[in-house]
């Protein structure tokens, strides 16, 4: 029982991070109708930049995270302007090709510049675990979970209560109609992509607090996001959150009770099951079949 509670707590921490990153993917898909293959690389950049800002430039941890979010969001704007805007409204096969190209560029340039060594972000948190109700949690994990859930709530209010957020939701629902009522769809797309990129980067930075960082972590991050949005339903806000938590818990349980070798496989098994039995995901908003 004790062990199960411990596993669940660890799973929810990792799951919160997955939710955050997958939220970015699902927003970009819902608003722009683009599968962002480069999402994993933006996730990786968030972690790696946080490492460089803290370890190499000595910037305090929180400021370093904030700074890497800004950098990745700006990079997202550059990507949107150069690679995605010219092909807006193209079939999905075309836009995915463009994001695949971007992902190849970002991943490999990062690999060349920084080398493939795994690194650890210098942690500002104490080592002694906090004991909450018999469950031991490292302060770094508590921090990651608190930030993840706070930001998820923040995103919710941002989408509901701000002008930009409402414009994004309008574009999400109906592109033509939102254009008709005077929403600048181009700017909304630009901001949406930057916003999604920043969410990926924050997910990466938080994962970097509880695990190591390397330029190849992006591919793995992308797979997690794919699994989460497939389980939750692509383009669904609630789906991304519950899909992420579900995957996090399923993975720690697999690692704890079966074998850590198969930890990464459980997500794919879940995806196949969901596709066979619940074809529009747990919270899917549109038919996914042809």
């Amino acid at each position: 029982m004790q062990q199960l509670a411990q596993q669940l707590a660890n799973g929810l921490v990792v799951g919160g991070i997955y939710s955050l990153a997958a939220l970015g993917l699902t927003l970009i898909y819902g608003i722009m109708d683009i599968v962002n293959i480069a999402h994993g690389e933006l996730f990786m950049l968030g972690a790696l930049l946080t490492y460089y800002f803290t370890a190499s430039f000595g910037i305090p941890f929180i400021a370093a995270v904030a700074l890497s979010l800004v950098v990745v969001a700006l990079l997202g704007m550059v990507i949107e302007r150069t690679a995605l805007r010219p092909i807006a409204n193209s079939p999905m096969v075309v836009t995915t090709l463009a994001t695949l190209g971007v992902s190849l560029i970002v991943q490999n340039v990062t690999l060349i510049l920084s080398g493939g060594v795994p690194r650890f972000i210098p942690s500002p948190f104490p080592e002694t675990p906090l004991t909450i109700g018999g469950v031991d949690l490292a302060p770094a994990r508590v921090f990651a979970a608190v930030v993840a859930f706070t930001v998820i709530l923040g995103v919710h209010f941002f989408l509901r209560k701000t002008k930009v957020g409402n414009a994004m939701r309008a574009a999400f629902q109906d592109k033509e109609a939102s254009w008709l009522v005077g929403i600048n769809v181009k700017t909304t797309y630009l901001l949406s992509y930057a916003f999604g990129a920043a969410l990926a980067a924050l997910g990466g930075a938080l994962l970097g607090v509880v695990a190591y960082v390397d330029p190849l972590m992006g591919a793995k991050g992308l797979m997690k996001c794919f699994v989460v949005v497939t389980i939750g339903g692509m383009g669904s806000f609630v789906g991304a959150i519950f899909g992420g938590l579900f995957l996090g818990v399923a993975e720690t349980l697999t690692a704890g009770y079966i074998s850590s070798l198969w930890k990464d496989a459980i997500g794919f098994v879940l995806v196949i099951l969901v596709l066979l039995f619940l074809p529009s995901g747990l919270f899917g908003r549109r038919a996914r079949r042809a």
Binding site: Y29, V35, I37, T82, A83, P86, I87, S90, P91, M92, V93, V94, T96, L97, A98, L100, G101, V102, S103, L104, I105, Q107, N108, V109, L111, I112, A219, L222, M223, F226, V227, V229, T230, M234, L261, W262, D264, A265, F268, V271, I272, L275, L276, P279, R288, R289, A290
Partner: protein, 347 residues
């Protein structure tokens, strides 16, 4: 197309093939022959992806799954059982076909975003399985000692392997060409332009998409099997995302949905970095850049764009024939009418 000019085209093509088959091994040194053989194998891989990516128009970014299945089939059969080369390559293709026939009907219930994600995830799952089933696959250490192989009782030298790869590449091109001209090909192009329209006139788009995936599975397996014999050692990296990406880059660069495009693209992608002395680590980012540039500026790819350029020039000088590398949308209707009324093999 006039029959006479068509005949002449085939003649020129045969001459070209003969020149390549008998000329290149004599002109090229051993290193260059190695690179060109590799380029041919990559071209087979690009053509195998071309069926779903180019003709059906679905973002298949997981072709490495079928490539890897072929590679492990050839590797395991020849290392563990000592199966002859020809049987090994054929089994690689058949195993690719079988896996495609099992997974195709599942993944093709999905389109666009979901199809893209699931094809990538499947290839990753296969890599994980190859990594973890150590007693069967050799695990992360890989499967060494795959023989170069022999054919007709004689060991295949580098030249023999070159000829085998060329022959299989020609087979892949021929199959692509025949299918493109058949009812199947017109159904593909129809659903690429508008799947809803194709379905509304009675085309069973699901069936045709699965066919594309399965044919691609065969040639993906063949490319994997050839690679296993050619490099003599394989490991779970045959399922890597980079393998799928390289096939995508080659196909799109040359021109997806054509017979020559993927071949030209794969040759360029393999040969150019070799002869420009490009450091290995800079290849992928530069291909990524090419991919973005081609998608944004030249969405049909090199071959159709260049062909059109020449055709337009020819049109200006004399009476030309209409050229359309991509079939216009209205070709959907005859293809659909054929299959709806049960007419077979219309041409």
């Amino acid at each position: 197309m006039k029959p006479r000019s068509a005949k002449r085209q085939w003649f020129v093509l045969a001459l070209g093939v003969a020149a390549v088959a008998f000329g290149l091994p004599r002109v090229l040194g051993p290193y260059d022959l190695h690179i060109v053989t590799l380029a041919f194998i990559n071209a087979i891989m690009a053509l195998s992806l071309n069926f779903t990516l180019g003709y059906v128009g679905q973002p298949n970014f997981g072709q490495a799954m079928l490539f890897g299945v072929g590679a492990y089939t050839s590797g395991l059969l020849s290392v563990r059982l000592g199966v002859p080369f020809a049987v090994s390559i054929l089994s690689a293709g058949m195993m690719g076909l079988v896996f495609a026939a099992v997974f195709g009907p599942i993944v093709l219930r999905l389109r666009d975003a979901y199809f893209c994600m699931v094809t990538i995830a499947l290839a990753q799952t296969f890599m994980l399985v190859a990594n973890n089933l150590i007693s069967f696959t050799g695990g992360p250490m890989g499967l060494p000692g795959i023989p170069f192989g022999s054919l007709f009782g004689r060991p295949l030298g580098p030249e023999g392997f070159f000829l085998v790869s060329l022959a299989l590449l020609l087979l892949a091109m021929l199959v692509t060409y025949r299918l493109e001209k058949s009812v199947v090909g017109r159904a593909w192009i129809g659903m690429r332009d508008s799947e809803t329209l194709a379905r509304s006139v009675g085309v069973n788009t699901y069936l045709y998409a699965v066919i594309a995936y399965i044919v691609g599975g065969f040639f993906g397996g063949v490319a994997g099997g050839l690679t296993a014999h050619f490099t003599s050692v394989i490991d779970p990296k045959v399922f890597m995302f980079e393998i799928s990406s390289m096939a995508v880059v080659g196909t799109v660069l040359g021109g997806s949905g054509t017979v020559w495009g993927p071949v030209v693209g794969a040759l360029l992608v393999t040969l150019l970095p070799e002869y420009l002395r490009l450091a290995a680590m800079w290849r992928l980012p530069i291909f990524g850049l090419f991919l973005v540039i081609v998608v944004v500026l030249m969405p049909r790819g090199l071959v159709p764009t260049v062909v059109d350029l020449f055709a337009r020039r020819a049109d200006r000088t004399g009476p030309g024939r209409p050229t359309a590398a991509r079939a216009p949308a209205d070709t959907v209707v005859p293809a659909a009418a054929d299959s709806a009324s049960g007419v077979k093999g219309g041409r």
